[in-house]
Symmetry: C2
Amino acid sequence: MRATTADVFEAMQDDLNRVERRLLEAASIDFPIVSGMVQDLVKTGGKRLRPLLLLLAAKAFDYERDRAVTAAAGVELLHTASLIHDDSIDRAALRRGQPTLNTQLSTGAVILIGDFLFAQSAILAAATDSTRVVSIFASSLGSICDGQLRETLDAHRLDQDRETYEHRIFGKTASLFAGAAEMGAVIGGASEEAIQQLRDFGGDIGMAFQIIDDVLDLREGTQMLGKPAGNDLRQGVVTLPTMLFAADLPEDSPTRTTLEEIIAGEEQRDDVIDDVLAEIRASDALDRAEGIAAEFSARARGRISVVPNAEVREYLNNVVDLTLIRSF
Amino acid sequence: MRATTADVFEAMQDDLNRVERRLLEAASIDFPIVSGMVQDLVKTGGKRLRPLLLLLAAKAFDYERDRAVTAAAGVELLHTASLIHDDSIDRAALRRGQPTLNTQLSTGAVILIGDFLFAQSAILAAATDSTRVVSIFASSLGSICDGQLRETLDAHRLDQDRETYEHRIFGKTASLFAGAAEMGAVIGGASEEAIQQLRDFGGDIGMAFQIIDDVLDLREGTQMLGKPAGNDLRQGVVTLPTMLFAADLPEDSPTRTTLEEIIAGEEQRDDVIDDVLAEIRASDALDRAEGIAAEFSARARGRISVVPNAEVREYLNNVVDLTLIRSF
């Protein structure tokens, strides 16, 4: 019988609670008001997929729980720090339905809080007592920044190819999933081959995760995501579904012209943007993008056989399900 | 005969050149234009005092040059990343006489470039293959952010005490000098007692360095520093000389009222600010602040005896001189 996605959370709840406690300790800042805001933000954090992945990758082999929990807290804190800078850059008002730090504090304070959390996350990585874990950790941060820089400097073109898009979202999102799984496998003392398979597993589900995210951004409204639909488009960021949609538009189509204007920031009227969103939704672009996400997920599932422990294999399958069917 | 400050640079030139090469490699970004800007910024970097300190602290004991050079490049890159965020927060137009990144790129790109360089610096720290070095490195970054947060959230009061000021500048500046010396001593395999003495040596010269910086900010004009005089005051940041000056002003003095208004950002007229700057310069506040810097330097000199190698002791004395007599 196939386990449900609830099983993995039930099985890992105790360890995830330990991650939570380390996370809140590390996110404490010596200014009570700011500290409260940061801790609220940490507490409302999503499903802890990255820590879960790291813990499972370690549990698949020789589970040194304390070191795995420490690294998992570090990975989640790195992710949180990165979101804080990201929201500040995008001037986002909401994150997971909560007001962002940048609506409450000066840009300077927000940058420094992000930096402080990067430092705290690196302290957690170093506490695993493995320079290999620290290297993976630091490389993942480098990849995240590279991906986000690509989004800032290079994502505002309708005619980019899929390789460019995939390169960008690997950096922005999949690199930390890959790094989390790799760190877990390293802490678990897996063989080099198994470490590489788990790293690639993480990378594949990270790719699927981000593609689904890009689909949801175009499909869903404020209530579901805690942010407005079409947010990427409004920021001028071209994602996979938009690329697929645009590829089918004739050169001289008025929709293409409007889309170009939206991406260039020249067209900002909500009703015009909503019309284009409706056209994208009415096309097969979202379904095709979901199909590509499913390909990444299938590739991820193919790698799970490297794990000797049958229970952990089930849980890793649960994690793949989570990246596909999530409504969060 | 006492060595001159030129001697230490001559003796360490070859190793500092190695640091320079590692630094430029690590600061290379996959976007040619941005990469050029960042490398220009790295190249025009000051006297490399932090790498010099780290190299000397290692050379004082068992000099593993490659590891020391790697860590030294990491420390300088961490410092550079921190300056990039700092200039973005302060909206500074010039750094070392050159236009800052934030005058050439969007805030978002500047934040991400800083983050990317943090990541690269952490990769260098991990390449020393010592989790202790990484821990010191990450703690130093945490202290820098804490100090800068204090400056942003808590430095805009005229009635703060010296402890508050010293706590803040220790974080902002002295913590990385302390960390650099500590990392060097750890890499050199020094005894725990010697590591602590060298860490405190670094902390003391860092404190002297920042106090002199705060004095120069009030004393010098654009040409000398590559930024306008009284920059701190214009940002509402109260430093030691201003605190000492204000402590001698009667409660009802018009200068105190004007000073309060400048710090609160209510008074921004250049001629009014220049008048207050002239009053501070005419008082003994700058001399008294320099006296306090000299006390830190003297304390630093007292710690040098822990180093067994006479030549390195001379060079460390040179470094103390550099923090006091610098005109850069």
